[in-house]
Symmetry: C2
Subunit: 211 residues, 2 copies
């Protein structure tokens, strides 16, 4: 087992990133180092490190009044999907070409998990499993560059994807699309995985943006 010990700063970074991207904190909200450190029961130092790393990723913006939560506009979502359309399809192809047995098993596990939550009509569970599926696929590319590039883009829209899963139809079709992608990857068919991913991204985009 590889239980890596995370520093307090790392834990706070993960927690704040999740809370901001899922909407616990809202757009333009000001997070001050002192308040956060008091709430969390730690000193300002690790809080400050977490915030400066969030600022690095443009998730917050440091100001003299506190770290301002950056919102995500509709145009941001459009741009993210335009970029993902072009490179996540490549990632699917690379995954098909480089997949190892263990990674494939993990991808399958997340697919099954998504099916489980979709049948239970659990939107949060479905959304989490969806996120896991994509991140696992990135890992299959064996490309740190791809993982670093797509990971943040995908995480940024988790809140909006969540909303789209309230359309029950979307949850079911998304599951089917994932299944097709998984099978193409498992079969080592890069071309097919690439094309199916293109279709999937375009449908997800339409489901979220409605156009």
């Amino acid at each position: 087992m590889n239980h890596k010990m995370l520093s307090i700063a790392d834990q706070i970074f993960n927690e704040l990133e999740h809370d901001i991207l899922t909407g616990v904190y809202e757009h333009d909200e000001l997070l001050t180092e002192l308040k956060l450190s008091e709430t969390l029961g730690v000193s300002r130092t690790p809080v400050r490190e977490a915030l400066s790393r969030l600022a690095q990723e443009h998730i917050v913006e440091m100001t003299s009044k506190g770290a301002r939560v950056m919102g995500i506009t509709e145009k941001d979502i459009e741009d993210i999907y335009a970029i993902r359309y072009r490179i996540e399809s490549l990632a699917a192809k690379m995954a098909a070409e480089n997949a190892d047995e263990q990674g494939l098993k993990e991808l399958k596990r997340l697919l099954d998990l998504q099916e489980f939550y979709t049948e239970k009509d659990d939107h949060d569970g479905t959304n989490a499993a969806d996120s896991g599926f994509h991140q696992a696929l990135y890992a299959l590319t064996k490309s740190p560059t791809m993982i670093q590039t797509l990971g943040p883009l995908h995480r940024r829209i988790v809140k909006y994807r969540r909303v789209s899963y309230e359309t029950p139809d979307r949850a079911i079709t998304s599951l089917g699309e994932h299944r097709g992608i998984y099978e193409a990857i498992a079969a080592g068919d890069g071309e097919k995985a690439e094309e199916l991913m293109r279709v999937h991204i375009e449908k997800a985009r339409k489901s979220i943006l409605g156009k």
Copy 2:
């Protein structure tokens, strides 16, 4: 005049990023907070903030022995070019569609600067102007997502691009390619800018990787 005051941490981040990506520090070299703070004449705090942000971008890796400088493999370069091929062409199209007068002037200025250095056979100057041209083009897209995504990818290979400019032929053809892209953008011809950028990226890739 907009002389923005940068914090010490920001300055150190910029300096270290530049020095690592241009090869002042080499692969696997260990940077310790204490030594850096003594060398730079500041406390560990801003040094530490800079390093943790560099780790966030996978430019260094934090270990118990210091911040280890991460190297860039040939495969990393291949992956970066594969991604840029697909989205920097989109960026060129977006730049053509969203360019404003001031941004175009800046792009032209950097093009002229590249010409100046190319004629003088100044590889470092040419490389710097090349980098500036691409970053200015990203800015023209008016898309924070595009800027955030492409910026780091482009900066990562500055050292290797520098080497490719030692082939005088490459410097001249690159200049010509940039000129074509600039003119397509200035003319508002998105399709052409997109196609010319694809060609440019592919040629640059070949020039660096030799295959």
